[in-house]
Symmetry: C3
C-alpha cells in the first residue's frame, strides 16, 4: 500500500482494497497463523470520545495478532484536560506506539494528527466526517457473503441524510461495476445531492423509495441504519422519524433467499429480534468481519511504517475554513490548505466548501 | 467439565470442583508451567457495574496464562448507552473473545447472556443473585489451608441475611460430609429460612450465636463478612448493625491455634489491622487463591468452548417473573421459563418464586 | 541495585543511576533484544489520580518488555470507594503483580505502601512530594543528548517555587561535578531556601535571573516548566505569572548551537510551536527517553524482587506529622516515624518538619 495513513477510504486504490480483503479472508480462514504476526508491536487507541464497539474491535484485532495496546477512552482524564494540543499528544504517543488509532469529535483531526506523527494514523472516526474502517468492514463482509462487489442491487434504508457510513459505502461501491442503489427513506432524511452527483458521475443506477416493503424483493443487499437521535435538532423530529422503517420477519418473507442484511450496529428498533435467527441476517457476522478487516489493516499499515516524522509543511493559506467543527479552527497551529473541486475551494482537512 | 458456562456453582459437580481445586494447586505450585497456557486466547471482561477487585483478579488470571484481555468497566461509556440490548452486545463480543466474564446488576443476566453467546460465560456477579467464583475462591482456600473440605466447624459472622457469598458458601459446603455451621449475627441479620432448609436436607448440623467472643473457641474456620451499607433501607439501620462484630487480637487469643480466618474483602472495620500479622489471618492469601482458582477455571472453560451459538430456545412461558430486578423484565426478548421446586414455580433466570 | 523500591531518587546511588542510564541506552539502541525480557511478569499501575501521560509511559515500557499490565486509573470506580485502606489494596495487588507503580495524591503514600507490599513499589508521584521517574527521565535525556552529566550550565525557567520536578532535578544534578544553575523566574516564584542550601553544601554555583532573553546565551541546557494553575491560591495570581517567560524562535537565535531544550510536558504556552522544529528542541525526545528509562527501571526492580512481605515495623512514634496531606494523617494504622535533620525532626514519609 502506498498511503502512510488511513484517513479517508479514498486514500486506498481498488488494488489496496482488494489486498486488504484478501488478507482479511486469509486471517479468517487461518487465524492461528497470525497469532504472533505483530509480536513486539504497540498500537495506541486514542479515543477522544467513547466508542466501546470500535475500540474493542481494534483492540481485539491487535491482540489477536500478538501485539499490545495502550491508550485512553476517557479524555476528561487525559492530559488534554491540562490544555495539551493534539500535536503534542501525537508527537509523544507516536514515540511510544508503532501505530495510532484515533477517534475524535473534531472534523479533520485525523489528517491533522498525521502531519505530526512518526507512526501511521488510522482514522476511527473524526466527528461526522469520515469513518473509513466501517466501510472497509462492509466491503469485507459483502465480498465474502455475496462473493463479489459488482453487479449488486443494494438497498439502503433509514437515515440517508446524516448517515456517514452510508455515504462512505456508496462512494466506495460506486467504483465497482454494475451496482445499483435503492435509497429507502422519508423525504426529510433523503440522500444529499453531492452523493447523487457521485453516483451520476460513476454511471451507477439509483432510485428512491419510501417503502421498505415495496422495495425489499428486488434487493441483493439490505443495509439498515439507525436513526441517531443526536443528529436531530429536536426530540420531536427524532420521534417523528424513528420507527418508520422496521425490518421484521414479515418483510423478510418478501425478500430473496440470498438477501444479505447488514447493519453497522448498535441497532435500536430498526430490526426486530425475530429476524436475528434468519440465516440472511448477517449483521453480527459483519461485526466479526470488522475484526478481520482491522487485523488485515493493522498488518498492512505496520508494513508501511517509516518511524520518522513527516517533513514539516511548507504550505499555509491565509484563508480560514468556515466549518466551526474543523480542526483548523480548534488547533490554531495547523496550517490551512484548500483544494480545488470544480472551481470551488474545499478544506483539505474537513472537506467543507470555503464558500457555500 | 460438562457445563458450557459457569452461571451458578450448582452447575458444577463435586468432581468438577475437585478438578478445579486440584488444577489451582498445580498452578500455584508451578506457575511458570502455565505462563503460555492460554497463548493466543482472548477473554472479555464486561463489567456493567464497577468491581475493580473482581475484574483485576480475572484479568491477572488470564494474563498470567499468557492470554489477552479486552472489555469495559464503565458501561456509561459503552454502546449500551446507545440503548443496545444485552443480546446484541453478547453476540458481537462472543465473536471477538474466546471467553466472556460478565458482571451485571441485573439478576439472571448471566444466564440470559449464555443463551446468545458463542463463547462460554462466567458469571462474575449478577446483582444480589449469584457470584460463583467467590465461592470457588473460598473452596480453594479452605482446601489448601485446612487440607480438607469435610468435618469442619465453620463460623460465619456478620450479615447472614443479605450476604450472597455466605449463602453460596453454605450451600456448597453442605454437600461435603460432616461440616457444622455456627451463624453469628444479630437477630435482624440472621440467615434466611431457605438456607436453613438446605442445611437440614443435607443433614448438616448448625447453631446460632449472637456472640463472636463466646463462639470463636470452637471454630476451625471463621468467615467474617462486611456489613454492606447498600443493603440497608436507611443509614440508621446500617449504623446500628455495623461495628457489633469486630474481630480483634483479644478475641483471636480465644481461638484455636489452627483457626483459619477468611473475609471476601474489601473489609471496613470488621477485622482490626492488628489481626493482619497473625498467621491464622488468611484473607489476603484468600485473594491470591482467588487468582489461582480463576486461572484453573479459565483453562477449564476454554477447553469446553465450542465456538458455536447455542440452539435457539424453543420454550417460552406466558407467565412473567415478579422480580423487578430479573433480566426477563429488563430485556424484553428473553424467553420466560420456570422450574418446579416443591410444587412451586421458580424463575429459571433469577430463582425467584413466581408466587410468594 | 540495593533498594527494594523506588520511592525517592535519593534511594539510588550514583552507581545505581549510572547503571540505569547505561541500560536505558542499550534498550534504545537494541530494542528488539528486550522484546521478551519481562515475559510472564505482571505490573500493576495503581493511579489514584489520573495522569494519562505517566501511566501510558509506564504501560508502554512494560509492554515493550513483553510483560503484562493490570491496574486502574479511576479510583472512584475502585474498591477504595468502598472504604478500603491503602494497606489492604497493596497487600492484595502485591499478590497479583510482580511490580507496583503507584500515583497517589497523598504525600508519603508510596513509602507507606512499600511497608505492606510483597512486590517492589515505584513511586509515580505522591502528591506534591516526589516524582522520581521524571528526574530519571531527565538524567537519561541529558546523558545521551549532552554526553555527560557534569560541567553543564543549566538554566531552569518558570515556576521554581512549586516545581517538584525542578527541585528533584537540581538535587540530583548537584551530586555531579561542575554543574552551574541559572534560575530564571519572577521573585514570587523563586527557588525555596532549602534547595539553595543543598546547592551551597554541594559546592555548585548558581545565579538568579529575571530574564530568559538575557540568560539564554550562556546555557548548555534550558529546562522550561509549566506554570501550574492548581498551585496558585487565586486565578489572578496565576494569570499574572503565566506568559512572562515564553521561549520562541527569536530567543532561540540568541542560544548556543548545542543548547538542549527540555520540558516535562504537557506544555501550555511556555514554548511556541515554532520552536518545535528547531533541532535543539528535545522535549518530545525526552518523553521517549522516559520510556527507555522506565524500561530500564522495570528490569532492574524486577531483579531485586523478593516476593515476600517486609518485616513488620517495630517502630512507632507517639508524635504526629503536622502535614494534613501526609499519609500518616489519612491512613490511621501507619506507624509514625521521624528522622533527624540538623537537630530537627522530619517526617520519614512526607519529609515535612515536625515543628516549623
Amino acid at each position: 500500500m502506498q498511503a502512510r495513513n488511513l484517513i479517508d477510504l479514498a486514500d486506498m486504490t481498488k488494488e489496496d482494497l482488494a489486498e486488504i480483503i484478501r488478507l482479511a479472508g486469509m486471517i479468517r480462514d487461518n487465524p492461528s497463523i497470525f497469532t504472533d504476526a505483530c509480536h513486539g508491536k504497540i498500537m495506541a487507541t486514542l479515543f477522544y470520545e467513547p466508542s466501546t464497539r470500535t475500540q474493542m474491535s481494534f483492540q481485539t484485532a491487535m491482540l489477536r495478532l500478538g501485539g499490545k495496546v495502550i491508550g485512553f477512552d476517557n479524555p476528561s482524564n487525559a492530559s488534554v484536560a491540562k490544555g495539551e494540543s493534539l500535536k503534542d499528544t501525537i508527537r509523544v504517543v507516536s514515540g511510544y506506539a508503532d501505530l495510532i488509532v484515533m477517534r475524535n469529535p473534531v472534523e479533520g483531526s485525523a489528517f491533522a494528527a498525521s502531519l505530526y506523527s512518526k507512526s501511521p494514523i488510522i482514522n476511527a472516526g473524526d466527528g461526522g466526517h469520515l469513518h473509513p474502517t466501517q466501510t472497509l468492514t462492509d466491503l469485507v463482509t459483502l465480498s465474502y457473503e455475496k462473493g463479489t462487489l459488482e453487479g449488486l442491487t443494494i438497498g439502503l434504508c433509514g437515515d440517508m441524510k446524516n448517515g456517514r457510513t452510508v455515504h462512505s459505502l456508496i462512494k466506495t461501491l460506486s467504483k465497482y461495476k454494475g451496482n445499483r442503489f435503492v435509497m429507502i427513506s422519508t423525504p426529510q432524511l433523503q440522500m444529499p445531492p453531492y452523493i447523487l452527483k457521485i453516483l451520476e458521475e460513476s454511471g451507477c443506477a439509483y432510485s428512491f423509495s419510501d417503502s421498505l416493503e415495496a422495495s425489499i424483493a428486488e434487493l441483493d443487499v439490505l443495509y439498515m441504519t439507525r436513526i441517531q437521535q443526536e443528529r436531530f435538532p429536536s426530540i420531536e423530529e427524532y420521534e417523528a422519524q424513528k420507527g418508520i422503517y422496521v425490518l421484521d420477519e414479515e418483510k423478510m418473507r418478501l425478500a430473496k433467499s440470498d438477501l444479505v442484511v447488514l447493519h453497522p450496529l448498535p441497532r435500536v428498533d430498526e430490526i426486530t429480534v425475530g429476524v436475528d435467527d434468519d440465516p440472511r441476517a448477517k449483521y453480527f457476522e459483519q461485526a466479526e468481519y470488522g475484526m478481520y478487516a482491522r487485523m488485515a489493516l493493522i498488518i498492512t499499515m505496520l508494513q508501511s511504517r517509516s518511524g520518522t516524522l513527516p517533513a514539516p509543511q511548507r504550505w499555509d493559506d491565509a484563508r480560514s475554513c468556515k466549518n466551526p467543527r474543523c480542526v483548523t479552527n480548534t488547533e490554531s497551529y495547523v496550517p490551512h490548505r484548500f483544494y480545488d473541486k470544480g472551481g470551488r475551494a474545499v478544506c483539505l482537512y474537513c472537506d467543507s466548501l470555503l464558500e457555500e
